[in-house]
């Protein structure tokens, strides 16, 4: 009975992360940088930033907004263009669904060949006014400087199985990098397995 229990738990622990990873549709490419300030986005106050994805299939951007008392109920417009000016993404999100201080991830159909391309990300909210404007997060205090958006980017995995394998590779890599802990940990597991099977081992050795 003990052996079956160990095998069930062991298989569960080893395979569950892989099985769950098959459902991952968005992988983080660049995490959101530290937020230093916010700026109002309304009327002609628009914000844009050039990004250069490191992967194909760019499929979402994420950024934090302030929407005090959920006052903004106008449309937020996200546009992504390539360096030829061609619009690749055109998404509208209404302010009503943007919570105050929430990180908003805006998804769109994957830009298939996005790797190493200069893409211009534009945010605007033309129908908003100063009093009800959303505030977009920045990584700099933009007094006199060009504002830098605190933007995170996401891409869709090309093959979910490779995603799972990458996750496992990172997992074991991280474990091996803490060498002393890894050694102690596996040694402990080894000792306990020996203790559980001591009687059987003794019998096998004797025969």
């Amino acid at each position: 009975m003990n052996k079956k229990v160990i095998i069930v738990y062991f298989l569960l622990i080893l395979t569950t992360p892989f099985i769950i990873s098959l459902g991952i549709k968005y992988l983080p490419e660049n995490p959101q940088p530290e937020i230093k300030s916010y700026a109002k986005i309304y009327g002609e106050n628009k914000f844009s930033q050039i990004i250069k994805p490191e992967n194909n299939n760019l499929s979402a951007v994420g950024i934090t907004f302030k929407n005090p008392n959920l006052r903004n109920k106008n449309n937020l417009h996200l546009e992504i263009k390539n360096d030829s000016g061609l619009t690749l993404v055109n998404k509208i999100v209404n302010g009503q669904v943007i919570g105050d201080g929430n990180f908003l991830r805006i998804k769109f159909p994957p830009i298939i060949d996005s790797i190493n391309k200069n893409l211009i990300v534009n945010f605007s909210s033309e129908n908003s006014i100063d009093n009800d404007a959303l505030e977009i997060s920045l990584t700099n205090n933009h007094n006199g400087m060009k504002p830098q958006l605190a933007l995170a980017t996401f891409y869709s995995p090309e093959n979910p199985i490779f995603t799972g394998l990458d996750i496992y590779s990172d997992w074991f890599n991280k474990l091996f990098k803490d060498f002393n802990f890894m050694l102690t940990y596996f040694f402990l597991l080894f000792i306990i397995i020996i203790l559980i099977n001591l009687e059987k081992l003794k019998y096998k050795i004797a025969n």
């Binding site: 003990n2 622990i13 992360p17 983080p28 959101q32 474990l175 802990f181 306990i192 009687e199």
Partner: protein
């Protein structure tokens, strides 16, 4: 003699359960463990009143939460951190102060989680040992230990949700053991000390008072229980930060939220009704048996959970007593499994990413991109209504279990 121990079935069950726990410990992460260890880290800097300290310096910290536990939790965690610091390494403080998305990917995070969960492992195994002391038959000891060591509920609560409540569960179990030996004053002190970590053990004290056969023992129990908790909390009672953070948070407020308005400013508070009923049923029994004391320690948490919005971590309060009950009345096993599934299912439906796949975020941050079960259900059904339906069935099941246990004839 050592050979006999190692070759014994009980040892094999212990060792197998230990192996399972070691496989899980480093690889699951709930942010609570980091937040309360961040807060407990100030003990080594000489901070004795964590409540005032956090309130005064909140703006300087990455984590702005209040310390919501009672003082002994702070001293225990802070002391353990000091002891474990040579093994945690010199990057540990940096990890504690890192609230960024990437903090779960730091080299060393598996080591930190493993070491921070070690006290829980020791207490977990100790609880297994204590439970066997409450059962006489060897065959029952084996079943009981297997139930404790292999049930997924306590493994998930302790090692995935990094449950501080195991400290208090150990003390409530010790209280039962002292009660069994008729050392009721010590039993009451255990509950008092447990209440110095978190408030809930104080609900068990009236059962001990009813269990005692004479007035002198009853008074000693009240003195032991309330006296102990009074001594622990007295230095902090005048602190408004303590009052705001610990006295009016979590369980203490939620119990009063489930109520029926009867007009003129009065409310009937449902959890208090159910708890009072349990005390009165015990009081009305002709013989105050130890078995019903165990049932009381089980039913108090269950009636609370069935009537309030609870945290999953709290479920550990009931599990050792549920296992004892299953051993005594094997016919109740299916009902317990049913209640266990319902009671676990509800929190996994909450709109909280750390109730779902984000628990794997130390393996990879990619898991944080998965939708919660709440948002998946939201696409085709109202998840709040679903939670309510399941919670209602849970309440009914606990009512049936309570009736079943109260009607039992105890030896």
């Amino acid at each position: 003699m050592l050979k006999e121990i190692i070759y014994s079935n009980l040892f094999k069950i212990f060792a197998t359960g230990l192996l399972i726990r070691l496989l899980i410990m480093p690889f699951f992460y709930h942010p609570d463990i980091k937040v309360y260890h961040f807060q407990a880290s100030f003990l080594k800097n000489g901070v004795w009143n964590i409540y005032d300290y956090l309130k005064e310096n909140k703006n300087n910290f990455v984590y702005k939460e209040e310390f919501v536990y009672f003082p002994l939790t702070y001293y225990f965690l802070g002391s353990y951190q000091i002891l474990a610091s040579p093994f945690l390494g010199n990057q540990f403080e940096g990890w504690l102060n890192d609230a960024s998305f990437e903090s779960t990917q730091r080299i060393g995070v598996f080591r930190y989680l493993f070491i921070l969960k070690l006290p829980y492992l020791i207490l977990d195994l100790f609880i297994g040992f204590l439970l066997t002391k409450l059962i006489l038959r060897q065959e029952d000891k084996k079943k009981l230990l297997a139930l404790w060591m292999f049930n997924p509920f306590s493994i998930i609560l302790i090692y995935i949700f990094s449950n501080v409540d195991i400290l208090i569960v150990t003390l409530t179990l010790l209280s039962l053991i002292f009660a069994r030996k008729n050392k009721l004053f010590l039993a009451a002190i255990m509950l008092g000390v447990g209440s110095g970590f978190k408030a809930y053990p104080i609900f068990f004290l009236p059962f001990l008072v009813i269990f005692a056969s004479n007035i002198k023992d009853k008074l000693l129990i009240l003195l032991g229980g309330f006296g102990t908790i009074g001594l622990i909390l007295f230095p902090f009672l005048s602190s408004t930060a303590f009052q705001e953070a610990a006295l009016v948070s979590g369980l203490t407020t939620r119990i009063f939220q489930t109520n029926i308005d009867i007009g003129f400013g009065e409310k009937i508070i449902l959890p208090i009704i159910f708890i009072a009923m349990l005390y009165l049923f015990y009081y009305m029994k002709k013989t105050k048996t130890f078995d019903f004391l165990v049932a009381g320690f089980l039913l108090i948490p269950l009636v609370i959970f069935s009537s309030i919005h609870y945290h999953i971590q709290w479920l550990l309060w009931a599990i050792p007593f549920a296992i004892l009950q299953i051993i005594k009345t094997p016919k109740s096993l299916n009902l317990f499994i049913f209640i266990g599934i319902l009671i676990f299912l509800i929190p996994f439906l909450y709109d909280d990413k750390y109730m779902n796949f984000s628990l794997l975020s130390v393996i990879s941050n990619s898991y944080q991109q998965l939708p919660t079960i709440f948002s998946i259900i939201q696409k085709f059904y109202d998840p709040y209504l679903l939670q309510s339906l399941i919670h209602s069935v849970l309440a009914a099941s606990v009512a049936v279990l309570s009736y079943y246990l109260i009607k039992q004839d105890y030896e």
